[in-house]
Symmetry: C3
Subunit: 139 residues, 3 copies
Amino acid sequence: MKSFRKELWFDIPGRRAFINITDDVEAALRESGVREGLLLVNAMHITASVFINDDESGLHHDYEQWLEKLAPHEPVSGYRHNRTGEDNADAHMKRQIMGREVVVAITGGKLDFGPWEQIFYGEFDGGRRKRALIKIIGE
Amino acid sequence: MKSFRKELWFDIPGRRAFINITDDVEAALRESGVREGLLLVNAMHITASVFINDDESGLHHDYEQWLEKLAPHEPVSGYRHNRTGEDNADAHMKRQIMGREVVVAITGGKLDFGPWEQIFYGEFDGGRRKRALIKIIGE
Amino acid sequence: MKSFRKELWFDIPGRRAFINITDDVEAALRESGVREGLLLVNAMHITASVFINDDESGLHHDYEQWLEKLAPHEPVSGYRHNRTGEDNADAHMKRQIMGREVVVAITGGKLDFGPWEQIFYGEFDGGRRKRALIKIIGE
């Protein structure tokens, strides 16, 4: 069994963004040499997500508005977590809806994807360096 | 290490449905011959889910109503994604709540499940052929 | 390839709670002897979650309030599932938002975690014995 590990680093200037990391994940897979196996990509921070969906800017706008409706940033004082000096309680909620991680099948050395699947890093509390982990196991 | 791959195809006539695929996944597991390992099942489309919950029709009715409340289909024009000519932006939201994939332990050649766990394909934008992927690795 | 399996049992007296199980999962990992691989932790019940987030009591209070807003327990009669004699339909919804499972990378014999990642069992319908499953594969 082979295993491979790589970190992807991000420094999003604003509070929130969706970054397409599919090419980076494919590059890591090629580097690993794994042909058959499973690939995990997870946010290493608890106010960020890794998820699979469509690379369409209108949809990302809709996600932004929808998540803000389900878990609004304001009022900051409405969350007990923010009494710790943080203002990111909403980011911990948004991350739960969008998910921490994805697990992807590796077949014939490639991400075994349907026609529109793309992998995104979802930042909900940016303004500092954060990272995602790629872990690959297989043969 | 063994690996095994199988697609399940669906053609849901309406827009939304929940399909119990547990028997199909168990059949794939038997076919794989894997006794110890991990099994991934994921929707290969970004407006569908694979999730584990109860096979109870009342609950599925409740999920349908609840998801429609959290991410309503109408008004279609309320989503920027739908300006692309689609009317399925809500399906991309519903899929995030219900999830893309499940990872299941394989022990002694069986799905290592609690008493009520069943695997479902959740369709949120039907009317065409779509598929889920089963990938198994182990020994 | 090595594989390892362990159950964690819970008996939460109230209806809902979040229990930090990181130490138990690390103990299982040590017991497995696996140095490189993947670790799955999942709720074996469909009204409970396993998720990764922050061990901060204010945040857990916020999660509790937020989940109750998105999927209220009352009115119990508002859910068709509850006509079966259950009163836990809301718990099936809360579990979908928080997720069934986490998959964690194992690197150098340790959980390959970011600075704040902790694993929780989320109970949404307590008052009886329930369990989570740890499954580890690797080398």
